[in-house]
Structures are given as C-alpha cells and as structure tokens.
C-alpha cells in the first residue's frame, strides 16, 4: 500500500510512447514467454537425446535386428549432428510437422489433432465450473463469516474444503465412479460420450481447485473488508452488494488470480490422470501410452502441447492481473 507521495505527472497528459508502463509491461511479459517457449522446445528436443543408451534400441526391444534399429535411427535423423537435428526439428515445428509416431506410423500432428479436442473440452469445462462456483462461494463465505460471525459455518467450510482439497483429483475420480457409476448407476463409468459422460471427470477435476480458490477468495475478501477504502464505500452508503462486488472483490482478486493461475496450470496436467481413470480419449491417454511404448516423437509432441497450455494459462493470468491491478503492473514495469 505504499505509493510515491507525489503523483506521476507527465506534462501534456498524453502517454509518451516508450515510457508507457503498459508497453513496458507487455514487452517484458512477451519476452519472458518467448524465453520460456524456447526452453520448452529445446528441452522437448533434447529429451530423446538425454535418454541413456540408444532410445531406438530401447523402443524396439533387445530382440530387434540391428538393421531395423539402424534404419529407424536414420529415418528419425538421429545419426545427423545434433545441431542439424535441432535445425530440422525447429523448421519442422514451424511447418507444423512434428514427426511420425514410432509405433503407429501416423503423423504425430494427426494424433494430436484427434486427441486434443477431447482434452481441451474437458479442461475448459472444468475451468468454467471452477470460475463460476469458486468466486461466489468464497465471497458468500466471506460475507457470512465477516467480523467473526458464524464460527460454525466458518469451521465447517474450512475443514470440509481442506479435506476435499487434500484428495488428489484422480482418487476423487475413483471415489466418484464408485458412488455415481458403480453403486448408483446414474452416470457412465468411463469413456467420452454425451453430456453425462462429462459430469464425473469435470467434477473430479474442479472440486479441489474450486474449494481451494474459494478459501483464498474468502480469506482475501475478509482482509479487504477491513481496509479503509471499504469503510469509505460504506461511508458513501452504497448498497452492500456494491460494497462487496465493486469495491472489495476486485481488490481481493490479485492473490486469488495468482494462486488460481498456479492451480489451473496443475489442473491441466491433472487431466492426464483423470483421463486415464475415465479412459477419456484425450492427450492424457496419449502421453501415457506413448511414454510406456517409448514412442518418443509422440511423447515430445505431447510434452510440447502440455507445456504450451501451461505457458498460455500463465500468460493469461498475468495479463488479467495487470488489468485488475494496474498498480502492480506499473510498479513492475
């Protein structure tokens, strides 16, 4: 809450192009994205070279004839100098060519194009569920338990949410399957089909993050309720909903978004496990199967896809943070 006592006044009032804190911020943020992307791509490329021994021999098995191994090495370009391979890999990436699966012979891009929508729809649904439920829940809890009211509600909420959030999503998924699919028989046990097939995986993915975010929203909102500007808002005699939603909540958003972003990042990867619990035909199944089959081109691509998704989520969160809390943006820039 410390700011320079003297306002940043610029003569003429027009933002001077280069010094515009927004541009500085965006420039830095995108530079960081580019560096992260470069590291991600390079690591994905190096992965196959970091595997001890001969990855092709490992993939094809000890019994595979030496000629076959050699031919496969040749076709993968593994016999070229590393730098040439890297160049080929990069140019392939720009052409949208991620290589060919070692097990099926299908272009990796095709597999991903086929599997990604299933994962994306799952992840996005979970994201929407988390957002529309966590924030109102947390705010409602904050309003209900403000100033030490309703100790019982508070205790109930914090302990239940802590318990459920402690259960990892794939175990929650197993529990949900047991209750709703096996015992009650209401919902399909696995597979991707109609809308009902989404319910359990989305619930398993979103329950933990929803409760964690709701807890953060509650704690942050309570802290904000005690601040001077909320008193000012009350002194302006605004209706309570306006005090809570327009004044308190946006200022509780910063840390909610920061931690929420981390949670969303790990939720993306959490889909890997949940997809495998529900036999969901998405990227999660793909990456596990390709790791087990040592299908390196496919693993490489899957790692890229997940890494990219995480980086994009991080970027989105940072941009949102900047919009919500311009002060920190300007301070950072």
């Amino acid at each position: 809450m410390t700011a320079p006592p003297v306002a940043v006044t610029r003569r003429g009032g027009l933002p001077a192009g280069v010094r515009n804190p927004w541009l500085v911020f965006l420039g830095r943020r995108f530079a960081r994205l580019v560096v992260s992307l470069a590291v991600l791509v390079t690591l994905a490329f190096l992965m196959i070279h970091l595997v001890p021994g001969d990855p092709v021999r490992a993939a094809l098995g000890l019994t595979a004839p030496a000629e076959l191994v050699e031919a496969r090495r040749e076709s993968l370009g593994l016999n070229d100098p590393l730098i040439v391979q890297y160049g080929n890999y990069l140019s392939g990436l720009f052409r949208g060519d991620l290589g060919v699966s070692m097990t099926s012979g299908v272009p990796v891009v095709d597999t991903i194009g086929q599997r990604l929508p299933a994962s994306a729809s799952l992840g996005l649904s979970a994201f929407v569920v988390i957002m529309v439920s966590a924030i109102p829940l947390g705010l409602a809890m904050a309003v209900l338990t403000r100033g030490g009211r309703r100790r019982g509600v508070e205790l109930g909420f914090t302990s239940t949410s802590a318990m459920i959030a402690a259960i990892p999503e794939f175990l929650l998924a197993v529990g949900l399957i047991f209750v709703f699919a096996v015992t009650l028989g209401w919902l399909p046990v696995a597979g991707r089909g109609g809308l009902d097939s989404y319910l359990l995986p989305v619930l398993a993915l979103s329950a933990g993050p929803t409760l964690v975010i709701a807890r953060i929203v509650r704690v942050e909102a309570l802290a904000v309720f005690g601040q001077d500007f909320v008193r000012t808002a009350r002194a302006k005699r605004l209706p309570p909903w306006r005090v809570y939603f327009r004044h308190a909540f946006p200022n509780a958003l910063t840390s909610t978004l920061t931690i929420g972003g981390l949670l969303l990042g790990s939720m993306i990867v959490g889909t890997v496990l949940v997809e495998n619990v529900f036999a969901w035909p998405g990227m999660g199944m793909t990456i596990v199967q390709s790791i087990l089959a040592k299908d390196y081109p496919l693993v490489q691509a899957a790692v890229l896809v997940y890494g990219l998704a995480v980086l994009l989520v991080n970027l989105m969160v940072d941009l949102l943070l900047a919009v919500v809390d311009p002060r920190s943006t300007i301070r950072e820039a």
Binding site: G147, V174, A235, R237, P239, G270
Partner: protein
C-alpha cells in the same frame, strides 16, 4: 524449541491426528512386509476377483490375492519411495536455492531465473518429462518426482535465504571474512531451517500422491513390486467386481498424504508459536469467541423524543445568551449517552462510554483527544460505520430529526448517503486502489440520486474542480495512486460534496499530510463549510488544528467527554487535561525557548479505566475526591467540564510540570450522579 510446545501441539486435534496417523503408517511400513509379505503374494485360483468375505476382509484381486494384506504390505514401498523422492527434491532444491548466495551476483541471477522458469511448469508435467528420460520403473519415478519437486523447494530456499542474507549477523560474518560456502552452511541455512522443515514435510505428502499417480499410470513401480498406486490401477479395472480393491489403496494414499500435510501444519504451529503468542497481547481485541450481547445492538430511545430534546434544550438555553439562536430543531446531530462496546476475552470493554454530542446547523465542532480517547470511534458510531463486532448503544441518536436506530438499512443509506459526508484520515488507503477516482465520486450520485453515468461523471469532474484538483477532467480518469496525498484528500472532500451534505465528519483529515498541505486542506474544509452551510465535525489529536477551524471544542479522554467549550474560551480551559493539551502546543503563550511539554503518562486502556476520573493518574490536582466520577457541569457560560477541581485563569505553558495547585481551587461538593 521447547518440549512443552511440542507436547501442546500434540495435544491439539490436528497434532494428535497427524502424529497418530503417521506413527501407525511407520509401524505398518516396518512390520507389514515381515508379517504379511508372503501371504500377500499367495495366489488363489479358486477365489479370483472376489468381494469382501470372512476369509478375505477386502476381497481378492484378479489372481486371488488378498487385497487387505497387499494394501498393508504396500505401505513400506509407498512411504519409502515417497520419502526417497522428497530427500532428492530437498537436496537438489537446497543446492539450487543457495547457489545465488554462494555464486556471485551474475551467476546467482541465472540460478534464480532458471528456478523461476522451472517453477512455471506443474510438478507433474516435469515428473512425466523426467520419467521419459530416466525410464519407466521405481528408480526412474523416484528420480523424476525428486527432480520435479526441486524447483519449488529451491524457490523457497532462495526467498528465505535472501531474507536472512541482509541481516546483521550475516553481514558481520561476511566482514569477518567467512567464506561463502561456510557462510551458507553455518549462518544462512540454520536460520531458515524451520520453514524448510515444514515445507519438506508437506512436500513428502505431495510426493506420495505424485508417486501414487505415476504408479497408477503404469509409469512408476513395476510388477512384481507393488505400491498403493499400482494396486489402485489394478483395482480400478475391476471396480464392478470388487470396488474395495480400488477404494482401499485410494483411502490409504489419502490418509498418508493427509498425515504428512497435517504434520507439516503441526510443526509450523510449534515453530510459529513464539510470534503468534506475542501478537496475541498486542491487539486490543485478540481473536475471540464472539458472544452475542444480551442487549439489542441499538436501544430504542427509552424516553420519547420530546423529553430528550428538553434535556438538550435546557443545556443550550443557557448557552444562547449571546444571541446565537440555538433551538433544538436546529440540531443536525444529537447523540445522548452514546456507548460503543467490544466483546473481549475478559468481558466487554467500552472505548466510548456515555458520550453526549450535539452539532447544530452550520456549526463547526472539534473533537480533541489523544489516540485512544474514543474520538474517532464516536464519530464512526454516530455515522453508523462502527466496526462489525462493535455494539453501539445510545438513548438518543438523531440525525436531521430522524432517529437513526429506528430506520431500516435502506432508509439509512438514502438519508445518510446524501446528507452526511465523511473524510477519513489516510487519503492513500481510503480510496479504492483499483477504481478510477472519478468513478468513485460518480458512484455517490449514481447510487443515491439516480444520475446517469454521464451526469454523475460530469458532476464528479465539477466537484474535483471545486476542490481545486488541477486538470480535473484528466485527473478524474486516473487511479488514486496517481494523485498526491493532498490532492487525494481534496478529492475525498469533493466526494463528500457530490450531494449537498448537512454534516461533514472529518476524522483526522490532515494527520497523514505534511504541514503546507495540511493548511490547504483545512482552508478547503473551512471554505466548504462557509459556502455550503454544512456543519462540520473535525476530529483531531491536535488542539491547535481544531482551534484554527472550529467554533466549539469537545475534549475527550478515555471514552468520555471531559470538557466542552467555545474556542474563544480556550485560554481559560477548566479541565486539567484540556490545559495540559494546550500546554503541549507551542504557540499559545509559550516561551519559544522552552522545550515542548508533553503530557506524562499514557491514557488508560478502556478495559482498565481507574474508577472515578480517568485522568487522575496523570493529574497534578488529583485527590481523594477524584475517585468518584465527575460529571459534566457548567463552569462558565457555554463551558462545561467534568472535573472536581476545575481550574481557572489563563493556561500556563505546561501546567503539569511541577504544578502547584492554583491558589483558588474551588472544590465542588456533592453533585454525585
């Protein structure tokens, strides 16, 4: 860490649960494979995938092996691998974390950047990545989870080490020529040990869950070895035949993970004990069990309005001798017997204790007192803005002839939103930092007068111009942090002028500002008062500020009004406290060479007020009479004081320093309430 802390922590529910759970798991890990190891391998072709039975507590798996025994036996593998992975994560993380401190500045920055980059990716993704490199199996998975956990631990070490690195003893060691490596291991790490231990414990829980995940996916432990994750994977495919086969290992994983997390919390509690215990004494109201008071939050006026007005009017009938027509209906604000109470650990405290306050139309009233005198709380209470946990009571609380306690919240908002304006102490924190200033002003008339967005905005710009915010148009579109302190306070006053208020309550409006800006803000307030005719209540600890601005001054001490007097009588203040306050002001008849007098001692805590006059412990005139509570009584026309020995004559620069009681000390007799 003292042993008693640990014992206390173990006695808390969280501590007890975590300790019990964890010891149970450790015992199981040690003995289960020895006792049931062989039995858990026993296949039974006659009992494949059976449900729970007398013979097999949780049924059997696809090869007819007993699920319950396999879950028990798997404890050792599951816990052992998780702990191993945590050790790897902690070692690598610590190494990476201290690098910035060991290496020079540039290399250190690189290490930080590397860690930041890696932390951006979820641990599970990193684990999958490393699992590819290290190969499928227990060994690969341990390495993968260990390395994947390292960056976040490294980040933790880095921040903690950086926090300690600036401290004196580290600088001293550095000056003494202690080598960097020695510095890290002898001076830095031991001082950040506590948070690291806590987090390593929590991390072990995370590693356990991650391992279960990898094994479940088939990437972790490989047959014939088994851990909970693999049992879960095998059980899931037969969940219709025997749900217990999938649920039991799942429950085991959750319980073990919980045991680690709770243990981490217990350790955090124990190591954090010193700070929290100290903090508990500081707050006026430490965390407390809320007890609903028996009394209603606001008492209905016991007597009818007229009789209350009688009380007010008699008191001011005497005051209206000099022609200033003071009639009861002239009052903007009437508060009688105002009390604000807070529930505390040792019963209720009353920081405001029976205050009467009347403010007339167009009048400027100053409320003065040291911090803790209850002056701000009085203002907040009459404005219906007291903190949530406070209980406000008054026999009368009228604003513009409306009894506030009788009105619904919506009615109060409409009435007070347009007629009462507040200006708070710190203009920095009193504006919403994430909302444009103009919007914050416009909001007032948009809410209460139904102005359109455009009209409200124009009004806001006009008000900003009115309070002399330069380039009001552009400023309105800025955020509060782009304003200077004085400009923010002027904008705050402008916010109060969005409607046409009958009362402006300014709570220490100049305290957070420097002297020149103070003067501007006061001048503005005076101007506003003159032009709008609004009454102003100015609250300040500084009697000089108040006397510049106000016609009448109310002096508060320890939650009570001790003196009330017109500003021109200030030089003849009767109450020793008022005189002491005046004595501490440099400009009233003070010898410039004399050091500024301060009032010795501190005001009493509202929970431990002395009986009788609260000022007695600091008063030079105190005697036995003062153990009975003095009441506010007239000492001169329009001047009332609550003192057994009211002083007369001009105020000496510092009446307390070696004060002899004045020669003619009138002693009141009787008059007890």
């Amino acid at each position: 860490m003292r042993l008693t802390h640990w014992l206390n922590a173990l006695r808390s529910p969280v501590g007890a649960v975590s300790a019990t759970l964890l010891s149970a798991f450790i015992v199981l890990a040690l003995i289960a494979p020895i006792i049931w190891g062989d039995a858990a391998e026993q296949t039974d072709p006659s009992a494949l995938s059976q449900g729970p039975s007398a013979e097999h507590f949780l049924g059997t798996d696809g090869l007819g092996r007993d699920i319950w025994m396999r879950v028990l036996v798997a404890t050792r593998t599951s816990l052992g691998l998780a702990v191993l992975a945590t050790l790897i994560a902690v070692s690598i993380g610590t190494l990476l974390g201290v690098l910035p401190a060991v290496l020079g500045r540039r290399a250190g920055r690189l290490a930080v950047a590397l860690v930041n980059l890696a932390v951006a990716f979820p641990a599970l993704l990193l684990a999958l990545f490393f699992a590819v490199i290290f190969g499928i199996g227990a060994k690969g998975a341990v390495l993968a989870i260990g390395i994947a956990g390292a960056p976040s631990f490294a980040r933790l070490v880095q921040t903690n080490v950086a926090a300690v690195a600036g401290r004196d003893f580290v600088s001293a060691a550095r000056v003494a020529g202690v080598g960097r490596v020695r510095l890290v291991f002898r001076h830095l790490l031991p001082n950040v040990g506590e948070p690291l231990v806590v987090n390593a414990t929590v991390m072990a829980g995370g590693a356990l869950l991650a391992f279960a995940g990898l094994s479940f996916l088939g990437i972790g432990v490989q047959p014939p070895t088994y851990d909970w994750g693999r049992l879960l994977g095998e059980g899931l495919s037969r969940i219709y035949l025997n749900p217990a086969a999938a649920l039991a290992p799942g429950v085991a994983v959750v319980l073990a993970g919980l045991a680690f997390t709770l243990l981490g919390e217990t350790i955090a509690q124990v190591v954090g004990l010193r700070t929290t215990a100290r903090r508990g004494h500081l707050g006026v109201l430490p965390t407390l069990r809320r007890r609903e008071p028996d009394e209603p939050t606001t008492t209905q006026p016991g007597s009818n309005g007229a009789s209350v007005y009688d009380g007010v009017s008699t008191q001011h009938a005497a005051a209206s001798t000099d022609g200033s027509t003071v009639r009861p209906d002239d009052a903007v604000l009437v508060a009688r017997d105002l009390t604000v109470s807070f529930p505390g650990p040792r019963g209720w405290t009353h920081p405001v204790d029976g205050v009467d306050l009347t403010v007339h139309r167009g009048e400027t009233v100053g409320i003065v007192g040291e911090s803790g005198s209850g002056k701000s709380l009085t203002a907040l209470a009459v404005a219906r803005l007291a903190p949530e946990e406070a209980v406000v009571r008054a026999s009368t609380l009228n604003f513009l002839g409306t009894s506030l306690p009788d009105r619904s919240d919506a009615e109060l908002r409409r009435l007070l939103g347009t007629s009462m304006a507040m200006v708070f102490q710190d203009p920095m924190t009193s504006f919403n930092p994430s909302m444009r200033v103009g919007r914050q002003l416009a909001e007032v008339t948009r809410t209460h007068e139904g102005h359109s967005r455009r009209a409200a905005w124009d009004r806001a710009v006009d008000r900003l111009r009115k309070v002399r915010v330069p380039a009001a148009e552009r400023r309105a579109a800025q955020y509060p942090h782009e304003f200077s302190g004085g400009m923010r306070q002027r904008a705050m006053i402008g916010m109060g002028l969005m409607s046409s208020p009958d009362l402006v309550i300014a709570d220490e409006p100049t305290t957070a500002l420097d002297v020149t800006v103070q003067r501007q803000v006061l001048r503005l307030l005076r101007e506003v008062q003159r032009e709008s005719g609004a009454a102003v209540v100015l609250i300040s600890h500084d009697i000089a500020v108040v006397s510049q601005m106000c016609e009448r001054i109310v002096v508060m001490y320890s939650g009570r009004v001790v003196e009330e007097l017109p500003v021109d009588r200030l030089a003849e203040a009767a109450h020793p406290y008022t005189r002491a306050l005046l004595g501490s002001v440099p400009d009233l008849a003070t010898d410039v060479d004399r050091p500024l007098a301060t009032i010795p001692g501190r005001p009493p805590d509202p929970g431990a007020r002395p009986p009788g006059c609260a000022f007695a412990p600091r008063c030079a005139f105190a005697d036995d009479t003062c153990t009975a509570p003095p009441v506010l009584e007239d000492v001169a026309p329009r001047q009332r004081a609550a003192c057994w020995h009211p002083q007369s004559g001009p105020v000496a620069p510092s009446p307390l320093a070696g004060a002899e009681p004045a020669v003619d000390v009138p002693t009141r007799t009787g008059g007890q309430p």
